[in-house]
Point group: C2
Chain length 144, copies 2
DNA sequence: ACATCTAGTAGAGCATGTCTAGTACTAATT
DNA sequence: AATTAGTACTAGACATGCTCTACTAGATGT
């Protein structure tokens, strides 16, 4: 299943857009949003699950390896902080929460995302014009 | 200079979005649009120049290496066809034009782009909600 | 003579994402 | 009691797409 558009099959995805399951480079704002929406610190595993519900991944769980690596990178950048949670029973797990820098970054992302939207909209208009067709209405997109 | 958003400097780009000069994976629809808008076949060099004027790259010329490689890949996929143009004087140059498959693909891209827009819009809304702020108005974005 | 423009190519590297596969412990099912 | 599914995380290999540096080579301009 695909998140962003809704091709009937893998074939069509490859034909059409040559994209992966998610928009590239937008897992960071997705993670920031998930953490900003949560009162408490979250484990990576939970973040993966919530990400599946976000518009970016629209139902299908993102690859955990990628998310864990992104979390680590974001912590290195100072956007997140984490503490090890070592319960008596069960595996050790890391709980992530936003730093002030993370909140600032998300704030900036909101503007960036608007710019992306505008840019993509312009490209879409130009493409329609070039084909000499009217801008078609927004199709049914997400899987939720 | 950046194409999509308008950060004051490289620093801010890195802080904010960790993105390159262009939205990832959208150079293909950009190229398709440029070719669809042109009556005649275009040289790679000209495509690079026109790309600089498109919303995706907003003024700054994209890396020619990347564009040439993408053109080759698109030809391999049957979206483009090319002929060598070997004038008496001057270097040999390749002229690209759209195939029927390329036109079909651009048509599908128009829907895909709408989905991207919608997805990014939803993410933006969720981010604003999570921060407890009103959805700010679309900022000034592109450089043209 | 030197710089700039046209037109393209080669190779290295980075960021991001994907795939396969594993560890380890718990809880529910058969 | 053994198997399966769920929680929680890690490692390595690979693919894709973009970026950077650097190069060839002819044409045109100063």
């Amino acid at each position: 299943m695909w998140s962003v558009c809704n091709p009937r099959n893998e074939e069509e995805l490859r034909e059409c857009a040559q994209l992966g399951r998610s928009l590239s480079r937008l897992s960071q704002p997705t993670i920031l949003t998930i953490l900003a929406a949560s009162e408490e610190a979250l484990h990576g595993y939970v973040i993966v699950q919530r990400a599946a519900l976000s518009p970016m991944f629209g139902g299908s769980k993102p690859d955990p390896t990628g998310i864990y690596r992104t979390l680590k990178a974001m912590e290195d950048q100072g956007l997140l902080s984490s503490v090890w949670d070592t319960p008596k029973s069960g595996p050790a797990k890391r709980a992530f929460s936003l730093t002030d820098a993370g909140i600032q970054t998300l704030r900036r992302w909101i503007d960036s995302l608007a710019c992306y939207q505008a840019t993509i909209g312009e490209l879409r208009e130009e493409a329609s014009q070039a084909l000499g067709i009217d801008l078609p209405p927004t199709p049914l997109c997400s899987a939720h």
